[in-house]
């Protein structure tokens, strides 16, 4: 394996003079270089490290509530030692449990898989792969991170207030989220949640504007849209979706803030709290659901699209084959992006929606299966009979395809309103979206981190630890989520604190315990990854080659540790598309190389 990973020793020796070279644009102090940096590569690392910290917190929360779900009768004194009154007698109390599941969702969906994922890879790869020295507006890019940081600080501090963080679910449905008297988590924790999310929306908008305009305006000479790597295409569609969907969430949250603090009735109507009638009238909780899911559904594509691009790139590179159906890949990205905006109501089939309206959303939802299948088919045909190198990033990319298929198939079940009535809010739903957008997106993200780590830090991640991390996570993720389908089909609801009073679910006690044990093991494997990440950042094997994976794209024409500005000297010109692998007897041809005399059509 060592050999395959060190593919281009000749390039390394050839370019070694360049590598030590450092480009100095301006004097850098610690603060301008690491904190208020405008370099897209540093901002990308800031997003990644913040995302990792959030992932650890969000993952830890899932371990905690899995302890409750797997061992509802058991008491863990250590919980009381750490969390005090939130876990009196070593048992997680109800308020704490709901806070945990709410924050688990919020943190992983928004702070890790949106900001941590897009923030890392869009920032890192867009300028490097389109051939730009930096983003369209490096200053806005810095602001994007700092708004995210501010949102993070507020969300993090909400974990420590006396009444606890928001606990009405990550979807923040009113009236639970609109009335402070509804639960202790609906008090200050909810306000902090809304403020944090508003800042988060600003951050993601600043980022998305930058991504779009960089991709469309700052491509180097010769880099036509159809020569872009698929990563860039997927980042573009992600950013467009984000720019169109997040503002609607913001408007929903602003109305929620008014309802909470100023007594308006946007979402509230005819409500009695403790026998007292509230003055609110004429509001509609369903209105919030519409506004929320208009973002909420595109949000899952904001999560999965970047990883689709990353995986397409990694599969082609490590199968040493051109991507199969490049145009179809772009077309299906576009189709997913458009459809994503018109299917939000499939989250609301059980809200008393007119069945005829529901059937329209069923149709549109099931249509998404078409572009998704095109993509899966193209990934499989890309690696079909390829000369596959099983690097950790390739394993993760293949794992991504596996999870995307097994999680995506159950989407067809849930997209049917008739079946959804039975499966809605059951563990089946949990299994579905965790596989298709949770685990799959994480696998895509891991694939990306393993693949571009040498570009980020000039070193490799430790291979042995990577393989352990992969196999434990792959097996663990299936062991955790596969059984949940059966629980859900048997009607076991999600979000319940304790289901032991239902005799019909007693058959699942052992299964739940198994899931919880596996969750702990998988969590430990992630800690192994985090250790590997930070250890390799400083002590990992040095990358001595400019192009360690033998890839064709522009980021591998920069020095091993590129300075601010990316290329020494002129920006390279692009003369071909990004997927010339195993062509005319050559292993790969860089995008900067012109067409050869006897070259077959490109």
């Amino acid at each position: 394996m060592r050999d395959t990973l060190n593919m281009q020793p000749e390039i390394a020796s050839h370019e070694v003079g360049h590598l030590e070279h450092h480009v100095h644009h301006h004097k850098e102090t610690f603060i301008t270089k690491y904190i208020f940096s405008t370099d897209h590569k540093m901002i990308s690392k800031q997003f990644l490290v913040t995302g990792i910290i959030w992932a650890l917190i969000g993952g830890l929360f899932s371990v905690l509530f899995r302890l409750q779900l797997g061992f509802p009768d058991h008491s863990f004194p250590i919980l009381e030692t750490v969390f005090g009154r939130w876990a009196e007698g070593g048992k997680i109390n109800a308020e704490f449990y709901y806070a945990l599941i709410t924050m688990h969702g919020t943190i992983l969906i928004f702070f890790v898989l949106t900001a941590g994922l897009s923030g890392t890879f869009s920032n890192m790869l867009i300028p490097l792969q389109v051939g730009a020295r930096d983003m369209a507006s490096p200053f806005m890019n810095m602001l994007s991170y700092w708004f995210f940081f501010l949102a993070s600080v507020i969300m993090f501090s909400s974990l420590f207030i006396q009444t606890g963080p928001a606990s009405g679910g990550w979807t923040a449905y009113p009236p639970l989220s609109a009335l402070g008297q509804a639960s202790s988590g609906s008090k200050a924790g909810m306000d902090l949640w809304i403020i944090s999310m508003a800042l988060f929306v600003v951050s993601s908008l600043l980022g998305n504007l930058n991504y779009i305009s960089t991709i469309l305006n700052m491509r180097t000479k010769g880099m036509s849209m159809t020569r872009l790597p698929l990563t860039i295409w997927s980042f573009l569609f992600t950013a467009i979706l984000g720019a169109l969907a997040f503002p609607v969430l913001l408007s929903g949250l602003i109305l929620l803030l008014f309802d909470r603090n100023l007594g308006t009735s946007f979402y509230l109507s005819d409500i009695f709290v403790a026998g007292q009638a509230l003055s609110n009238e004429g509001g509609s909780a369903i209105l919030f659901q519409h506004l929320f899911w208009f973002l909420g559904h595109p949000e899952v594509y904001i999560i999965i699209l970047p990883t689709m691009g990353v995986v397409s790139e990694i599969l082609a590179i490590n199968a040493r084959k051109p991507i199969f159906g490049y145009t179809a890949m772009i077309g299906s990205l576009l189709a997913i992006c458009v459809l994503a905006l018109f299917v939000w109501a499939h989250h609301m089939f059980v809200t008393g929606m007119n069945p005829f309206l529901g059937s329209v959303f069923v149709l549109l939802t099931l249509l998404i299966a078409v572009p998704s299948s095109i993509k899966v088919f193209n990934w499989l045909t890309t690696i079909w009979r390829g000369n596959i190198r099983f690097t950790p990033s390739m394993l993760y990319a293949i794992g991504f395809v596996s999870f995307f298929i097994s999680g995506g198939l159950t989407g067809i079940w849930l997209g049917n309103s008739t079946i959804d009535i039975h499966l809605h809010d059951t563990m089946f739903n949990i299994a579905h979206f965790h596989l298709v957008m949770g685990v799959a997106a994480f696998f895509g993200m891991f694939a990306g981190v393993y693949h571009w780590f040498p570009k980020m830090f000039g070193r490799y991640l430790n291979i042995t630890l990577s393989y352990i991390h992969f196999w434990v996570t792959l097996a663990g993720a299936y062991l955790i989520f596969w059984p949940m389908h059966y629980q859900g089909m048997a009607g076991m609801p999600r979000r319940y604190l304790d289901k032991s009073m239902w005799v019909s679910f007693s058959q699942f006690h052992a299964l739940d315990a198994m899931i919880s044990v596996v969750t702990i093991i998988v969590f430990l494997a992630q800690i192994l990854f985090v250790f590997n990440f930070f250890y390799s950042m400083y002590k990992g094997r040095r990358c001595r080659s400019m192009n360690p994976w033998g890839a064709t794209t522009l980021e591998w024409t920069t020095p091993v540790n590129p300075g601010h500005g990316n290329w020494v000297g002129k920006i390279p010109e692009v003369k071909r598309w990004a997927y010339d692998y195993s062509k005319d007897g050559r292993d790969f041809i860089l995008q900067t190389e012109g067409p050869g005399e006897n070259e077959s059509v490109h």
Binding site: A136, P138, N210, R219, L244, S251, S265, F266, N280
Partner: protein, 191 residues
Amino acid sequence: MIVTTVAQEQNNKLHPLKFTLWVAIASIIMMFAGLTSAYIVKSNFSGWRTMAIPKIFWVSTVVILLSSITIYLALQKFRNREMQKYRALLGTTLVLGLLFIVCQFIGYSELWSQNVRFKGSSGAGQFFYVITGLHALHVLGGFVAMAIMFLRSFFGKTKSYSAVPVEVMGIYWHFVDILWIYLMVFFLITA
């Protein structure tokens, strides 16, 4: 720094900053589209209260229209390097912008005294405060940016001949103007 050098290196048709602004405008439009469609949905529910739009909002409409004209002229003068007139026109736009916000504020207090309040059952008034308030925030944001630009035209250390910042400012200002017209028409029809 980087922006300008990159822009020169790559011969663009549309300046990246201007393009970015257009995408941002699309985002802002989505936000207001979300809010106004929420309004339409809600207006069919029971307990809906209507309102009468105070006359002062007509004044603010005229004011913001005028300010659109002055910033357009300011851009013309900047292009012709008539800096004195440019500064005067930019200053006028600033004053008009401030006047607009003051008019809005007077309008809100008038509504408030007509007993259109936040509390209680839903109605056009609650939406009006939120939607036009958000619009006013966007105007205020433009106002701050323009004020910085105005001060820079006096005290700026470097002389800039690029019209791009002024153009970007102008596009944004016209946008908040058009957005206001849309909102005004929307509320006139529905409230």
